[in-house]
Subunit: 289 residues, 2 copies
């Protein structure tokens, strides 16, 4: 588990894509925390501009640290999706050259290796890196049934198997999600992402290669065991539910407290409207799964 340090000073938010950076910023504002967003151009949404902000390009380390220092940000949240940068879009400034050994570590290994390096890099420079859930606990999916529908006993068995599969893969730094239908592991996520995996399940269902009539099976998401949970928690949203519905699944289950839900209301509403369950499973009891 990540440490739960008290955040005192101005909060620096290093923003990739999606709505999460603004959600974190709003929560910080609501708590009276001063903040400054550093948005990565081409990744972060223009919506960050309603908060104090600085835009940087990939590789502009000097500008990044300048913005954090000018605003006295020692506490950081690094949040939002990033694509693997296109080399032609990277602009290396003097700060980048100073940090070249770090940059060279980024090209190797799986995602988790890269993200752990990112966190260590900021920590070595004296920053405190927090998870989005430390600033906005309500972003994390809580334990239990979230919508109107509860998983059946058969669903619970599929959930259990899917968590076992994702856990085994996660130990090898692969994926964060799997789909199980009636005891049959239909799909396992690697580089393609959850949405693409769900599209594939929908296609398999149409072609008759997965069993079961009506809504059956589950999508499960959880972080990799031992992964750097401060910068890369799995996320779900209304789109996840809609794609799970299109794949004919009965519902979605995630590791309670360890998966982010950016649009809480809309996500639960999508589950209810499509007749899917949405469930937060407490995995802490199973200690070191």
């Amino acid at each position: 588990m990540q440490e739960k340090e008290k955040i005192k000073g101005p909060l620096g938010i290093i923003a990739g894509g999606g709505q999460l950076p603004c959600v974190v910023a709003e929560a910080a504002e609501a708590r009276g925390l001063p903040l400054h967003i550093v948005g990565i151009r081409g990744e972060a949404s223009p919506a960050i501009e309603r908060f104090p902000h600085t835009w940087i390009k990939w590789g502009e380390f000097g500008k990044l640290f300048g913005a954090l220092n000018d605003n006295a940000c020692r506490d950081l949240v690094i949040i939002g999706g990033v694509t693997r940068p296109d080399p032609s879009n990277i602009r290396l400034d003097l700060g980048a050259l100073k940090n070249l050994p770090f940059l060279l570590t980024l090209g190797k290994g799986g995602d988790d290796h890269v993200l752990s390096n990112v966190v260590r890099f900021f920590e070595k420079k004296g920053y405190r890196v927090h998870g989005a859930g430390d600033v906005v606990p309500e972003l994390l999916v809580e334990e239990g049934v979230l919508g109107k529908i509860a998983p059946s006993a058969a669903d619970r068995a599929d959930i259990e198997l899917a968590f076992t599969v994702v856990d085994a893969l996660g130990r090898l730094d692969v994926g964060q999600a799997a789909v199980v239908i009636k005891g049959y592991v239909v799909a396992v996520e690697a580089a393609e992402g959850t949405d693409a995996m769900l599209d594939r399940c929908a296609a398999l269902r149409v072609s008759g290669r997965t069993r079961g009539q009506g809504r059956t099976g589950v999508l499960v998401k959880m972080p990799k065991p031992g992964q750097e949970e401060r910068v890369d928690l799995p996320t779900i949203g209304p789109e996840t539910i809609k794609k799970a519905s299109a794949a004919g699944l009965a519902g979605v289950a995630v590791a309670a407290g360890r998966v982010l839900m950016a649009e809480r209301g809309a996500t639960i509403e999508a589950a209810n409207q499509n007749g899917l369950f949405l469930f937060g499973q407490d995995l802490t009891a199973e200690s070191d799964r």
Copy 2:
């Protein structure tokens, strides 16, 4: 490992799709073994008709056992792909009704569970079930470099990681294949099959979501640990090589002696022409991986 019993009597070949049933029949003929093919209609190729044969529909157990008994076949090879049968195509005869408890086991669990049940079913009736590789050892991919190109040190590292991933998944009765590119697990096979997984890798490569310029990365195939290797060995062929090539991979590695290659010459030729390595890895040294 499967037992290597000496095959004495007439050989019964229960034939699904593809070329393998005829390859096995030819090899049996070459060894002077009498044989009889029982072809599953809609699955087996009409090419089986050049051998002594009987056609059955899914579910015609009485006719199946009749054909085997009339031809004194106590040694069986069950070979060739089958689709999950369309219920409207199943014709249950009296033999099927007698074997109803067995039939009811087929709808549940993963592939391996189903296939183990199939083998046990025939064994209980006194048949000896052999792997295709027992009859035609040259069908199995041998150890070492098969074509003109050898895997590099970097390829060997990717191969090692991919075997580790497939092994971990296989223990959960999931998939038989994975793709690793420069230490990054790009795709893991579940219900979609190897061809669909390779198509996905090609798409990820085009979209720039996998790293590496030029040919990099490997496809690895191996049986699941503990799987019933007499009826369901993984297979590769020229099409596998072509799809691996389209995905930009450097080569294909399989568990030596435990993966079938139906079209040996054409498969090696496809590897050479496309500039891919084709490698049989000896996994026995790693005993109980």
